[in-house]
Amino acid sequence: MMLLEHDAKMLLAERGINVPRGVLARSPADLPAGFAPPVMVKAQVPVGGRGKAGGVAKAIDATALAQAVTRMAGTTIKGHRVRECLIEEVVTGHECFVGLALDEASGDVDVLMSASGGVDVEAAPRHMLSARADFDRAACAGAALGLAVRAPEPMRAAFAEIAPPLAEAFFSLEATLLEINPLFVRPDGSWIAGDAKLCIDDNALARQPGLAALIRSRADAYPEAAGKLESGFDFAVLDPDGDVGLVTTGAGLTMQLVDELTARGCRPFNFCDIRTGEFRGDPARLIRVFEAMAAAPSIRTILINFFAGITNLGEVARLIAAAQQAVPRLSVPITARLIGNGYDDAVSVLAAMPMPLAVEPDLERALDRAIAAIWRDLA
């Protein structure tokens, strides 16, 4: 997962990388005294290209600052709603680029440095110095130092100084990508990180207590990751105004269902990988998902899709029934597509519910049913 710029910079600062002074703000009222313009205002969303999308502005006075925060808050950049802005002191210098990126195929690390960074760095690859290093802190720091000596001064001094903390941050945070672009380098060789892109390994959170604590404390900024830490499964709201809720198992199949529903004119509310194999007789996961859907008035129908290899469907059906009873305000029609052992048992359990579920063994027909339910509701 990609961390927001503010959080990435905080983690990097703790590891010896210079960053501008900054604070998070949701509205002009949040701005602390003593933070006087001129400042940079930067929308906090986990995607690149914010500047070109209107998510970065320089505010020269208090009025402009308030306007910029008001303008950005609540907008959507590449599908991500702007919940907060980073207000930063203005820093300047020659724009450079430094980065470490894990190469998935080889398991090596690409070390990248360029004396010409900025928003168009990818358009000028000829200026990029690069080396491939072993997946090892010392090897990456060494490779970065090797590149630094090929850069002109004052970049040479700056790159040499940032190389060790950059490698240290990459490995200690179990990052898969760490880019500083722009890295501002001043004539005297001093430097400061203008922006930071830090992708961490979600799978390492179990042994990265500091990162897990950060995500828990910023659950509103990282709802998917924080939710997974709490519940143990994947759930992401894709479209807050979506019309079909998905209670599904399997990441790949759910992604595919989202694609196919979208292609057929539906608006999937969520992504979900609930993992039926981990229910262990407890309806808690189903209740959690049903509650999220009951709180979304735009949802007109729910599609359950469980392709169970081992899990007995009769047991799953009893958990669905228990969850439905626990969330009585969830009143939209539910279609359950079930495949696996105990199908007949599941059908009879679900047919006996106060609000019977439609059970369907064929996924195409289940999709048809769910879509028909949306249209019936709209009619």
Binding site: M1, G48, E174, G250, M255, I339
Partner: protein, 308 residues
Amino acid sequence: MNDVFPQASSSDELLLDPGMRVLVQGINGRAGRTHARLMRRYGTQIVAGVSRSGGSVDGIPVYATCAEAVAATGAVASVAMVSPLAVAAAVEEAVAAGIKLVVTVAEGMPVADAVRTLKRVRAAGVRWIGASTPGIAIPGRLKLGFLPDVALAPGDLGVMSKSGTLSYEVCYRLVSRGLGQSLWVGVGGDPVKGTRFRDLLPVFAADRNTAAVVVIGEIGGSEEEELATAIVGSGFRKPVYALVAGRTAREGLTMGHAGALVHGATGTFESKRAALTAAGVRVFARIQDLVDAVVSAPGSSNGGTSCS
């Protein structure tokens, strides 16, 4: 049996033999116990379990270490049913014991562990499938992992997939139309893994039982693009059909699998579709369209007739 696994780093070959002796690491856990029994019922020769507990599970002798299990039973393959943070140590133990094929099913192995494990298996000439794989099967003969029986049937399709459930759905529909698999390999949804799509191309090229290949990919990473390059570079001639999930995924949002994440133009559906299409692969957006195309292909063992 002609299914072979050429090593990425050497010319050694590993026979994936339906009669091979297999041990299960973590056999005393809930999953280990269940799947050891199910794999054996499928026909896999589960000869040993490994767990500190010792004793036996359903009549399968359990040893404290892989080395003891290998010495006592001659096991050459391992299925590791251990928790995500224990996968790296389990593979290390299997490699040190002389195991030649390791399948690790746990979802959630840290990337740093996967990188170190990858280096270790490459140096040792061991084939690693996973992490985060539902397993591998030669239908009707051998199953390592937990691919569901309802989606498995002997046939002539080679299957490679990043996703468990999506491959179950695709193969279940193909089987219901009379088309089974020669060999099915789940590579898992992690970014760094033991066996990537492109590593399987020589296997399916050499396997006389494979007439066509079904690729089940998804957004994120570069595996589909690497596969496309390998298809062109190796002159792979068998028909290839691909499904790529995640066309509508948002940049910056991880979709369940650790590897399923789009950054800028990297890892997008369009990038994968363009690369695969240019390599002659037929790429589909709907499951049913892929199934229909495979069923109606001229060389299909179904003779081009539909029996839905």
